[in-house]
Amino acid sequence: MNNEFHYDYKTVQGFVLSAIFWGVIGLVIGLLISAQLWDANLNFGEYFSYGRLRTLHTNVLAYGLGIGAEFGLFYYIVMRLTKRPLVLPKLARFHLWLFNAGMVLATLSLFIGMNQSLEYAEFEWPIDIAIVILWVLFAINVLGNVFTRKEKNMYVSLWYVIATIITVAILYIVNNLAIPSTLFKSYSVFAGVNSANVEWWYGHNAVGFLFTTPILAMFYYFLPKSTGLPIYSHRLSIISFWSLIFAYLWTGAHHLVYTPLPDWIQTLGIAFTLFLIAPSWGSVVNGYFTVDRDWSKMRTQYLTKFFIVGITFYGLQTIQGPSQGIRVISSLIHYTDWVPGHVHMGTMGWVTMVICASVYYMIPAMYKTTIYSEKIANTHFWLVLVGQLMFSITMWITGIQQGAMLKMTAADGTLQYTFMETLVRNYPYWQMRTVAGIIFVVGMLFFVYNVLMTIKKGNDLAKQAA
């Protein structure tokens, strides 16, 4: 089937390149802060001290790499699934430029210490307003396309896209409600225990609706596209979708186990967190059974392994995460390095893996060419896999070790170890984590090179044709 229009791929490509740019910055900062943890001499003055850079690391990667890539990939998926170009292509172009301008300002604001101290919502109110505007611009185009689509049915990926747009808007606006005091400083409308409850409702669902549902949207689209195998069970897709988005919003309190938050809210949060294993594994099982029809794809189609390993880490993540919510496990590993180990399995093993695979599929598809080098893509795959596993496993070990040491009591009922004694035992593991990070970053540089060379290849082809 053909039609007389063309998709607005320039904006899509712009977002992918922007995401790569911010991603590299965020990763390099990640390496530096990983080393600061075992050598305090690597803190270089005010602007390059750990407290500022840790905040920068998570935000640049979450907003720059994660959301930047999602903007691009969503525009692509939505155009394809609605069978029409973006309703407002110029607005999308403006969205791209505003995104990058906003990222520059957001980065500078964190450097100078404009920090609300709300995890994953550190940006102060002027940046918050810019982010809301960005989201509205994005929603106008995506929902505009969905409402004027040339295809009767909405495919699974579109469900996840719509849920993402609606939920993130609610979460972000409510959690950032604050009274501006000066240009650089505001105070939350929520105080104390109540603000904790709001923040972790936001915090956990930011993970849910920025790093789960969007990645599932990509997974459900790009897995069938790259393997030629349709998703195993439509019914499983439906029940997983609705139960996932229903249960997610109850679970934020698992971040507040054994805090002054009322017990009943903690308990509800833990119960729903455990339930989340089911809808998460619905997608995992659906992915496995999809490829189950022809496992040789793992060898013959290089992207299959990105998706299958990615969804496997999603599966592990969604067993580990709920387990951490249970009180007895929380009491051991909460506040230790176990948790960054958990988070990085999700971001490095699942989110980045699927985003990279989606970009690998999409860039050649847009240029009507093939990937520059499958070999480089495979090298990238193995490096990021090894880097991520080394990262997560070292953090789990040292997290359990420190958690156990902090709990241990001597025969007379006093504590066995001082805080410093438990801290220094982390250093060898933290050094290994830095090595793991380097391996991962090198893997990502292979990815960046491969994408840039594929674009060059596509441009050369277009020139020849012209």
Binding site: L37, W38, G45, S49, Y50, G51, R52, R54, T55, N115, Q116, S117, E119, F147, R149, N153, M154, W159, I162, A163, I170, A178, P180, S181, T182, K185, S188, V189, F190, A191, G192, V193, N194, S195, A196, N197, W201, W242, F246, L249, W250, A253, Y258, T259, P260, P262, G269, F272, S331, Y335, P340, L406, A410, T414, L415, Q416, T418, F419, M420, L423
Partner: protein
């Protein structure tokens, strides 16, 4: 995907509304409704609003990202209570917009830091944490003492929070540094509840003579603990710094039991207690080391 003619998957508006309702149910039950109950807005009896200097300090705490490494909530768990003190109460945080409980303890919890050390401890520790704990990974914060506060901004911040202040208080800010503010904030954290240590040694129950004796092993063990935990205040060679000279103390010839009780229980506002953090033998070995300093 089957083509059910009238499924919600072909009606974008109906679908979107349903999705919004689905995500709002859990939101309303666990977040929005509790907001309107008094249980979410408790206030401890002795809780006072922040002074201008303390609020400025809290803002620096937020600005520097301290929350990345330090929690401010003691869990109702035995090990937490032993290490940090009484577990956190919901009413302690009524003036924190937002809460600063944190999610990671790269450094220790700070919910009970107020009054634990004298101001001078914080001043020196922010300047150079490694002088207290050589293997600490906390960054140095030397710039704090060079930066003056901005009274106009702080006034606006106080107004936004609705905290009372006097003009003299505001005028005094102009001479003060970020370090002064941060230290003032440190000292008010957790101040609304009475200090409650999990183990307080009763002097009547303490052995009169040091059971660890004066063996070289006991002295060496005590010295190692002293260097790790005490040397920051009392000096690497016990010559004194923020805290008294332990060499001089040893000369005075205090009773073993008194030394033991001092180390175990500390002095509020001047010296932390160690009764829950070091075993009896360890504390006695510190006594052995102190006795060995007598010339």
């Amino acid at each position: 995907m089957s083509n059910h003619e009238n499924s919600i998957y072909s009606k974008a508006l109906v679908f979107s509304v349903l999705a919004a309702v689905t995500v709002l149910i859990g939101t309303i039950v666990t977040v929005f409704l509790p907001m309107f109950t008094s249980g979410m807005h408790p206030k401890t009896e002795n809780l006072t609003t922040y002074t201008a200097l303390q609020l400025a300090g809290k803002d620096i705490y937020m600005s520097e990202g301290c929350v990345n490494c330090h929690t401010q909530t003691v869990r109702p768990l035995k090990a937490d209570v032993l290490r940090y003190g009484d577990f956190s109460k919901a009413g302690e945080f009524a003036y924190d917009r937002p809460f600063l409980w944190g999610s990671k303890r790269t450094g220790p919890d700070l919910a009970r830091i107020g009054g634990k050390y004298p101001d001078e401890w914080h001043i020196q520790h922010f300047e150079n944490p490694q002088a207290f704990y050589p293997k600490s990974n906390m960054p140095k914060y030397p710039w704090l003492k060079t930066k003056k506060l901005n009274p106009a901004d702080i006034k606006a911040h106080m107004d936004t929070n609705g905290f009372p202040y006097t003009e003299e208080e505001m005028a005094a800010l102009a001479d003060q540094t970020q370090l002064d503010a941060l230290v003032a904030y440190m000292q008010v954290i957790g101040a609304s509840v009475a200090k409650k240590e999990a183990i307080v040694v009763d002097p009547a129950n303490v052995e009169q003579a040091n059971p660890m004796g004066s063996s070289p092993e006991a002295v060496a063990m005590g010295q190692a603990i002293f260097k790790a935990e005490c040397a920051g205040c009392h000096g690497q060679n016990a010559e004194g710094n923020i805290g008294a000279s332990i060499v001089d103390y040893a000369q005075a010839g205090n009773a073993d039991a008194d030394t033991y009780v001092t180390v175990a229980n500390g002095f509020e506002g001047a010296m932390p207690s160690y009764a829950a953090k070091l075993s009896k033998d360890k504390i006695w070995s510190v006594v052995s080391y102190i006795n060995s300093l007598k010339q």
